[in-house]
Each structure stands twice: as C-alpha cells, then as structure tokens.
C-alpha cells in the first residue's frame, strides 16, 4: 500500500487538432497529400506532476479550456497520456450525469442498473443497494419514466446517488452538481464530507470557487494546460479570483479602447470624478451607456480623495467617515471596498480641558462633575432659564437658549466663530437650529446604523466604480466642450452650477476649509482621529490624525511617524476649492435663479453637492446619483 492514491508524473496530453478535425475520407486524402496530418498539435496538458495522498480533497480550477477535465479524464483512465505516467491506487468512481451516456429512452430504474454496471458493480450488488440509491436521490415517483423526461438536476441526483453508493476510493466530481437545487447540493456536500471523513479521496472540478473552497483542502489552478499554482485552497482561490477580476477589467478596458478608436459618441460626459460622478458613470455603464468622466484635478475621487503617504491613507480634503442607515447603500459601498468598524468619537479641546463629543454624559461630567442624567437636565434647564431669552436674535442667543452658557462658551462659541470668521453675535441664528444633547455615555458621533472607513482609502472605491469607464483628468469641462462639442450626447454636470452659467447672477457662496498636512515624527500624535479646538485663540478648528481612521492597518504595520492635518476655515473667494454651500436666504435665492436656468438647459443634468448647491453626506450623494440614473433611464427607483 503506497501513501499516495494518485501519482501523476510529467504528464503531457497532446491532441492533434489537424487530424481530429478529419472525420471523413475526403479530408483525410487531401491532408495526406498536403502532408498536413500531423502538424497542428495542441498540448492540452503539459508537465503535470501531482501527488495526491489518500483521503485528501483536491479542487481543480481554471477557465474553460484550461485542462481541468482533461486532467481528471487522464486520472480516470479515459485518456491515455502522451508522455508521463499516471498511477492510481483504488477504485475510481467518476460522478457522471446519469442518462448522459447510457440511454435516455430507458427508465430511471433501468438506468440505475446500467449506470452501476458501467461503474463496474455487479448486478447483484446493484440489486442490494437499489433502494438506498432511490432513497438518496429522492425520486421514487419517477422511477419508471424514461430518463429523457428528467431534468438535468434530477439526472445529476441519480448520478450522484449511484456513484456514491459505496465509498469509492477516489471520487471524481466534474461540475455536474451545479445543476442540482439547493437542498440536493447541501445533501451532496454532506455526503462528500462524510466520504472524506471516511477516507475517500476527492477530486473536484467546479467554477463555483466558494464550493471548491469549502470542500477542498488543496487546489490546483490550471492555466492553458499547465499548473499555474498549487497549494492550500484559500491561497490559490484568492489568487485565482484576483486574476479573474484583473482580466475582466482588462477586457473591458480593451473594449472601451476600441470604441474610443472608432470615435463613437459618448452617451454621457460626466463632469467631475467625485463620488456622485463615479456612481453615476458606473451605473450608467452597467446599463450599457458609454460615459466619459472628466475632472479638473489631477486625481479622481473629488473631495473624498485619499492619498497614500508613507503607508497612511491621508484624507486630503478633510475627514470622511462613511455613515448611513440605508442598508442598500451600505451593501453597495461594501461591494466596492471592505469597510472597517471605525466609529467616530471626536474629542474637543478647550484650553487645557478635554471634552468628549458629541455633547453627552461624558462631556457633562467633565464640565460639572455630574453623573446622573436628571441632574444634568436640571442644570441645563436652570442655566437656560436664568438667561431669559425669548426670541434669539443671533447665533449666540440661539445657542445659549439651547444648551446654556457653559457648553456654549467652552465648546461652541470659539469653534463657530473660527468656522465662519465672524463673531457669533453677528451670525444669523438659523445656522444652528438644533443642538442635540445626549443623556447617555455614548461617544459615537453619528446616529446611523452603519459606520466605517474603507480599508485602503476612498480612492480605491472610486477607482473601482470607474473601472469600466473612460476617465480624463486635468481636463476642464468648458475647454473640452469647446474642443469636442460633438463627442457626447448628454452632460452630467457635478461642478458648481453658477460657474456653468458663467456666474451670470453672481457667485454662490461656500464655506471653505484649508488643510495644512504635515508629517510628524511621533507614532501617536493625539490619540484620536479627530480633535476639535474650540477656543478662538487657536487658529485652526481641528486636527485630524489620519492613521487612527484605520487602526487595523496600524496594528498590522506600526509606524513611528504620523500624518496630521490642521484645518483652517477660510473665507471663500472665487477660484479656491468650494466645500460647504452656505444655504442662507440670499444664496438659496440665487441658487433658485440658477436652477431655473438649469431647467432650460437641454441635455445637461445637474447633480452632486455643487451642482445641487446642497450639503450631502456620502450616503446621500450615492442615493442622489442613483436617483438621477433612475430618472434619466426611467427605471424603477432603487429603493
């Protein structure tokens, strides 16, 4: 008894394509005369060496025509190797779809017998196990109908039942189970697991990588007749999947290149490669529309752009934390990237004091040393009552009437004044409508159900969204339109709406942030991703320490340096990056005027944060992009 159930050594399988195509005498004579008979040789397998121990389970993966089935056939003895040797110890039961070979006109009963006999069982043996087979296949009622009336799933069931009636030494399964229904597949899996436990060697071919991973310990990846990779299932399968994806992207890229060469018109010219544009372009491309995405910047992803600086994903345009309560959107973004479980709990620094944000029991304990929610409520109510503000005339009075002087002085006043560059008393009260106070010890800034940061940064998400779309960077829309007016049918404009109309009614205003990013030679600069500086005297509003957005990355690869960004609020001037729309009465009215112009603009859709002059969280951006696509194509809304 050898250790190995199967030993394959240097096997080569050669097909002679030329003579295989010859199946009639005329061709034969012609090719014989032309001396073409032995030319076109095709190596279905080359240098295959494999040693499979008894009781192991091996999966075989690869694209169509990579030689998986050929290899199994060689092991089963159906094909003879042209070179090399195959040694097999034990009885092989190939799992064949019943009726595929025997006879579709015979009844299932007769086919069971025939199939068993084909596998080398005796008639007596089959009679003994007949009931067992029928029971496993669950097809009692159909025993006496001809097999040709069976569905492929039913045939597969019978085939499996017959093949596994005794534990064969080696079970060969070649993609036949894919046709069965869920229940039967589970049953088959169980049976195979049982047989594996009982010492059967399993050879399994499937295009369903998950099932290969769950059944097989080892996987052989065949590529054009050669072993590309061989080893533990997870490793090989991952590598295989990765390559498959790459290839898909490459193929699509080639196709797009062909279209480009032909100079075919784009269905949509998407202006802005930010999240909105990317989602729009992807969903359009998915539905067969050709899109060209252009962006002024030299990178994609708009304001959610993250840059890898010495292994740290730096949020170049401010901290972005994805949060949503919409399950569909959460699933959607998770398909584009893997998210971690980051929870935003910023800290506020006021002079030498530290407070938790959002305003919650931890904050209040820091302020007053109070531990009971009711005590806090009473304290705040008393403070507000002392002020006697009935109708707030400005932001300061508004905030005071909501949270009282302590919270306002330490945590709101300075911060807000820095943000707007104005005294709180000079700011309109509408900026703050609500100031949520939390009477629990919960530092989670957001109330949404799902929250996280994509591991590896946001740029990757946008990259993936744009994987099947043409992109041109550092391209200004207005110039592009001038130069190629006929290269597109419609425009999806996500830039500033006022700029589109050449600021004909004047500029819409934005609140803008300037970042000073620097590398600090300190492994941990501030111990939290976000620290707000709420006193007026400190010039910046916040410091972001980027590595804390991805703690798992830091755990994996600890770094003794860090990247921090100081955020400064700046007055917006035409020409600098716009961030937050200022939705006051004046600006909203102005926007409405532009909106009216936009509605008259045929073949241009306005969308996104700047196009709609609205502040959007990322999830809302995605939702808005989807809605735009749905409206444009007259689809059913996505949710």
């Amino acid at each position: 008894m050898g250790k190995y159930a199967i030993e394959v050594e240097n096997v080569k399988i050669r097909f002679n394509l030329a003579s295989e195509n010859v199946d009639n005498l005329k061709e034969y004579a012609i090719k014989l005369v032309k001396h073409e008979l032995m030319f076109q040789e095709f190596l279905a397998l080359q240098d295959i060496s494999l040693k499979i121990k008894k009781g192991e389970s091996w999966g075989f993966i690869g694209v169509n025509g990579s030689g998986k089935s050929t290899l199994l056939k060689t092991i089963s003895g159906i094909l003879q190797p042209y070179e090399g040797t195959v040694k097999v110890e034990g009885r092989i039961a190939p799992l064949i779809e019943l009726g595929a070979g025997v006879d579709p006109n015979l009844t299932a009963r007769e086919n069971i017998y025939l199939n068993g006999l084909v596998l080398g069982h005796s008639k007596e043996f089959m009679e003994k196990h007949f009931d067992e087979i029928v029971e496993f296949s669950n097809l009692e009622e159909f025993l006496d109908s001809p097999l040709k009336n069976f569905s492929s799933g039913m045939k597969a069931r019978l085939g499996f039942a017959v093949a596994t009636v005794v534990n064969p030494d080696i079970l060969v399964v070649d993609e036949v189970l894919e046709v069965g229904d869920m229940r039967f597949r589970r049953k088959c899996n169980e049976r195979m697991q049982q047989m594996l436990a009982g010492g059967t060697t399993l050879l399994y071919v499937s295009h369903n990588i998950e099932s290969v991973q769950s059944l097989c310990e080892n996987v052989v990846w065949l590529d054009r007749g050669k072993i590309r990779m061989m080893g533990p299932a997870d490793e090989v399968c991952e590598a295989y999947k990765e390559e498959q994806e790459e290839q898909t992207v490459k193929r699509k890229e080639e196709k797009r290149a062909r279209w480009r060469e032909k100079g075919k018109k784009y269905d949509y010219l998407v202006v802005g490669a930010g999240l909105f544009g990317a989602v729009f372009a992807k969903e359009m491309a998915k539905r067969g529309r050709r899109c060209l995405v252009i962006d002024r910047r030299n990178h994609i992803a708009g304001n959610i752009y993250t840059e890898n600086l010495d292994g740290i994903q730096v949020h170049k345009y401010g901290a972005h934390i994805f949060h949503t309560s919409n399950e569909k959107i959460w699933k959607y973004v998770n398909r584009q990237a893997e998210f971690n479980n980051y929870i935003n709990s910023p800290v506020a620094r006021y002079k030498d004091e530290l407070y938790n944000l959002p305003f919650n029991m931890n904050t209040f304990y820091g302020l007053w040393g109070l531990k009971k929610p009711q005590e806090v409520k009473d304290r705040i109510a008393a403070q507000i009552a002392d002020l006697g503000i009935t109708e707030p005339k400005n932001l300061e009075e508004q905030a005071l009437s909501l949270v009282g002087p302590d919270v306002y002085e330490k945590l709101i006043k300075g911060y807000t004044e820095k943000q707007w560059g104005r005294d709180c008393r000079d700011l309109p009260s509408f900026i703050i409508r609500r100031l949520p106070l939390r009477f629990t010890y919960d530092n989670n800034y957001f109330n949404d159900r799902y929250q996280g940061i994509p591991m590896g940064g946001y740029t990757k998400i946008v990259q993936k969204l744009l994987s099947n779309v043409d992109v041109m960077l550092e391209t200004d829309f207005f110039e592009y339109r001038k130069e190629h007016p006929d290269s597109f049918k419609k425009v999806m404009y996500t830039g500033m709406i006022d700029e589109y109309f050449d600021f004909c009614y004047g500029h819409l205003e934005y609140r803008t942030v300037r970042f000073e990013t620097e590398r600090v030679e300190e492994a941990n600069y501030q111990g939290n991703a976000v620290v707000n500086y709420t006193e007026r005297e400190v010039p910046y509003t916040r410091i972001i320490e980027h590595k804390h957005f991805e703690p798992e990355e830091e755990r994996k690869n600890p770094k003794d340096y860090s990247y921090i960004s100081r955020e400064y609020s700046t007055e917006w001037k035409p020409g600098i990056d716009p961030y937050y729309p200022v939705n006051d009465e004046k600006n909203n009215a102005l926007y409405e005027k532009y909106r009216a112009l936009a509605d008259q603009e045929k073949n241009v859709i306005f969308g996104g944060r700047l196009g709609a002059y609205r502040y959007y969280d990322m999830d809302k951006v995605i939702a808005a992009a989807f809605e735009t696509v749905a409206k444009e194509l007259n689809l059913r809304p996505w949710w």
Binding site: E20, K73, I78, A100, G101, E110, L114, L117, V118, D174
Partner: protein, 263 residues
Amino acid sequence: MDLLRYRIRTLFKYKDLIQELVARDLRLKYRRSFLGYVWSVLNPLLTMIVLTIVFTNLLGKKIENYPVYLLSGRMLYDFLKISTTEAMKSVINNSPLLRKVYVPKYIFTLAKVTSCMVDMVLSLGALFIVMVVTGAKFHVTLLLLPFVILQLYIFCCGLGFFLAQLNVFFRDVQHIYGAVLTAWLYCTPIIYQLDERFPRWFHIFVKGFNPLYYYVAQSRDLIYYGRFPGPRVFWGGWVIAFIMLVIGVWSFQRSKDKFILYI
C-alpha cells in the same frame, strides 16, 4: 499470457453490463409498439412474402419451396447487416458515456452484436412457421444450426470491431458500408441459386471471396437440403470467422486509446 488473463477477467467483470446492454436493446426495440416481440417474427415473414411473390413470378427458373430457400439464407444476411451496422455505430453512439467514465470500449460493440444475435434467434420462429405452412420437411440436421450461428456471430463480432474503430476516424464508412451491404446481398446466393447460368468467374468470386457464402451454404444445407455441409464450407466458415475476429480485435485494440479524441 497475463494480458490475456487480465482481459478475460475484465470481460468477466463486465458480464453483467453486457447482459444488461443486450436486454436494453431488446427491450427498447419493441417498447411502445403494440405487437412487441411478434415483430421479430413478423418482419422477416413480410419480407419473405414480398420477395417470394416477386421472385417466383419474375425469375424464370423455379426453385422448389422458395420461401424456405430464401429465408434460410436471408436470415443470416439480415443478422450480418443489422449487427455490423449497429456495431459500427456503437462506439460513437456511446461517446457521452465513454467521455466520462472508463469502460472497456469493446463492451458496447460486443453487446450490440450479441443483442442482434439474440434477435435473430428469436426470429427463427418465422422460419419454422414458414416451414410448417409450406409443408417442408424438418431435417435432423436442423439441430446443427447453432454452430452456423456461432460462426457467423464470431465473424460479425470481428467485422463489427473493425468497422466500429474505423467509423470513429472516418464517419463516411457508414455510407460506404451501406453500399457494400447491398452489393454483398446480390453477391450471395440468397434470393437466387448459384447455378450454371452464372459465369465461371462469378462462381470463383463468390465461393472464394465472399465469407457470407460459407455461412449461407451451411445453413441451407442443414435446413433446406437436409444434409451435412461439405468440409470446405464447414471448416472454411470457422477459419474465416476467427480470422475476421483477429483482424477486428487487433485493429480495435490498436486504436482504442485514440477514440476519445475523435468521439
């Protein structure tokens, strides 16, 4: 020697399969037909009636009890024709199975010839009916008929193997063989008597180069004339059968590993 023993062992291992395949062929042949097995008898009878009417009226020379004369030869020809034609297609028709599981490929060829042989034996009923109806004499020699059938069976196996492997590589063999079979029928004294009306070269051709002549002659001796076949046709029949078998098996073995590439 070991190889031979191994081959016999495999054959034995698969005997149930052959049995089942034969049973399948017979079962399928008449499944869903009203008269079923009766057709095995009725078919040769009907052919015989047509031929008898045509030939007793058209052919100048009368052959005594033509129906029995005809059937005793025609039966063998039919067996040869059907069994070899079916055997020829046996490998190709089972290609889906052969592509998926290892089974000795000759099993299917062998099973086909065997099932045709069984069918032929069953259709002997037609011969007996005709003999009774026409009042022909039942000779003792009739009991030796199985030997002739066995000879022809071996011959057909050999020819079947040969054709089956050839057909895998050249599908046009099927069409050629169809023509060959027709010619074969007329080159064998089945519907006519090989007498002095035919030129001498034809006599030599038929007796020297037509294997079927040996079996028809034997069968006719036993059934129609009630005499022992001459040693020439008797021993010749055996020798030819085995030569054909050797050719068939040899050619089949030589190319069987390549089948898979062509089916």
